[in-house]
């Protein structure tokens, strides 16, 4: 029974949108007549969403939060990959630093906030340092793993063709470690979003986390839920963005694995 291409596409769309649509409808009606102080109707939350986040706050709060996340994340990538390559490449350095890195990685970043607060002043730098304190570890440790696992035959090939220095670093070391680095980068992004929010609590800053906390403490629950919804959408959007970057940067890698699986 060959399916018509149209039918095929329709079915796929139904599968993708089916459950979410059902959940939204259930949420809409379950909360529709709720006079409950906290659990506001979905309609009210969506109105609050449009009024709160699509207005001036988009520039005043959402943008600063995202820019801090971007700066913290970028710094973590540079720091994590840079240090990771060094530590991954030299056996002694790795043995020397491994326990220290394992300890620092294990400290939950939020626990560092009271300490970072003592140094990093009150401005953006404090929040960026907090983001880095969480994001750098997955990238660093995955880079070390990736650099350690460079294929020896490829390394010998480079040596015999006298491929050295910067070309070697880029073409052999970084490229072969890139699948592992991307795994670390994905984990770091998830942690980054969390720290973006947490670094804004209990302080004064233009940001999503701060706004949501203000809504909560001033009992403006529709706005609070709309903030939660925004963070959800942000998480999804960034995950999607990451997948695009991943398929572009690791195009070769996904192809390689697909072809191995077939063979």
């Amino acid at each position: 029974m060959t399916k018509l291409p149209g039918w095929q596409g329709l079915q796929r769309v139904a599968l993708v949108l089916g459950l979410p649509a059902v959940l939204v409808v259930v949420w809409w009606f379950a909360s529709a007549d709720s006079d409950h102080l906290v659990f506001r109707p979905l309609s009210e939350i969506l109105v609050a969403f449009r009024e709160t986040w699509l207005g001036p706050r988009l520039v005043e709060d959402v943008l600063p939060s995202l820019s801090r996340l971007a700066r913290g994340y970028a710094a973590s990538v540079v720091l994590g990959v840079g240090l990771g390559v060094l530590v991954g490449w030299s056996r002694t350095l790795r043995a020397l630093l491994e326990p220290v890195l394992e300890l620092l990685r294990a400290i939950p970043p939020p626990a560092l906030i009271p300490l970072i607060g003592l140094f990093a002043g009150l401005g953006d730098s404090r929040r960026i340092v907090i983001i880095i304190a969480g994001c750098v570890w997955p990238i660093l440790l995955n880079t070390v793993e990736g650099v350690r696992a460079v294929d020896e035959v490829l390394a010998d090939t480079c040596r015999s063709y006298r491929v050295r220095g910067l070309t070697r670093l880029r073409q052999l070391v970084l490229r072969s470690a890139s699948p592992q680095i991307m795994t670390g980068a994905r984990q770091a992004l998830a942690i980054g979003i969390i720290l973006m929010v947490i670094s804004e609590l209990r302080g004064t800053v233009h940001g999503i986390g701060f706004s949501v906390e203000q809504f909560q403490t001033s009992f403006r629950y529709p706005e609070m839920w709309s903030g939660v919804l925004l963070l959800g959408l942000l998480g999804v959007a960034l995950a999607l963005l990451f997948r695009l970057a991943d398929s572009w940067i690791l195009g070769w890698y996904h192809g390689l694995r697909a072809s191995n699986r077939e063979r």
């Binding site: 102080l37 002043g121 302080g203 009992f219």
Partner: protein
Amino acid sequence: MRRKLAALLISSALLVAAGCGDDGGGDGDGDNGAGQPTGPDQVSVGLIPIVDVAPLFLGQEQGFFAARDIELATDFGAGGANLIPGVESGQLDFGFSNVISLMLAQAGGIEIKAVSNGNNSTGTQGEDFGSLLVPVDSDVQSAADLEGATVATNTLSNIVETIVRASVRNDGGDPSTVEFVGVPFPEMEAALAGGDVDAAFAVEPFQTIIRTNEVGRSVAWSWVDAAPDLTVAAYFTSAELAENNPDLVARFSEAMAESLAYANDNPDAVRAILPTYTEISEELAAELTLPTWPPEINRASSEALAQQAVQDGLLSEPPDLDALYP
């Protein structure tokens, strides 16, 4: 019960199948049934580990609560503002919060009720448990000089803003130009030392730490400026508990009143108990300026405070103190 059901529904929806329901709730959910007492009532109280709540621990130590069939389970919430939802949702039986937060909650539709006084200012200029501090080398001499300045406060749009504005206003300055920045108490010393803020309103033990480390000096005593013998904070409960179990609330209030009086008369006992529930060392505890703990809430001071909060735009209209206060 309806509220609890809704909470269960939403939290289970959130966790898909793994709703962790109510059973994992607060340690002692308070046997708030009005049935015959089967032993001391397990009562959970949400607190912040600060000087102001010393009387409660003294009362516990002196057995004022035990004498009234109450066994306390203290729970240190992450912040005053978070205690209100805890009490309102029934997870905590009683909580401690400043009066402005209580008024804001009432305005926000939260049904809570103050049951006993918390703590008051010393009422004397130049010596109070909290003050407005500026860096030692700052040229600010009094509150009025803080026009257009940035002032650190532990919570934004809350009681500290109202009283600091009162200090500036009483000193002849224009309070609307003061800009407030949220800084947790432990980080105020660094903020002052680093010059990130022009001033900071700190309470004990940080007021003493900042002064003895010569990082800052006091220029105004805002609790005193706001209103004479200001009631700063109070213990509160949910309207539901007050309704369902008036006996327990009454017993708690009496025990609290006795504890407050005892604390007021025995400052040394207060200084001795501080290190047991906070991380304030004995030496530091000895140097602190303690608040006062009169048993009764100073309602006049709350009215004056509320009037200034309305003037500053923090409250849209004056609170209904009859409903809010015992």
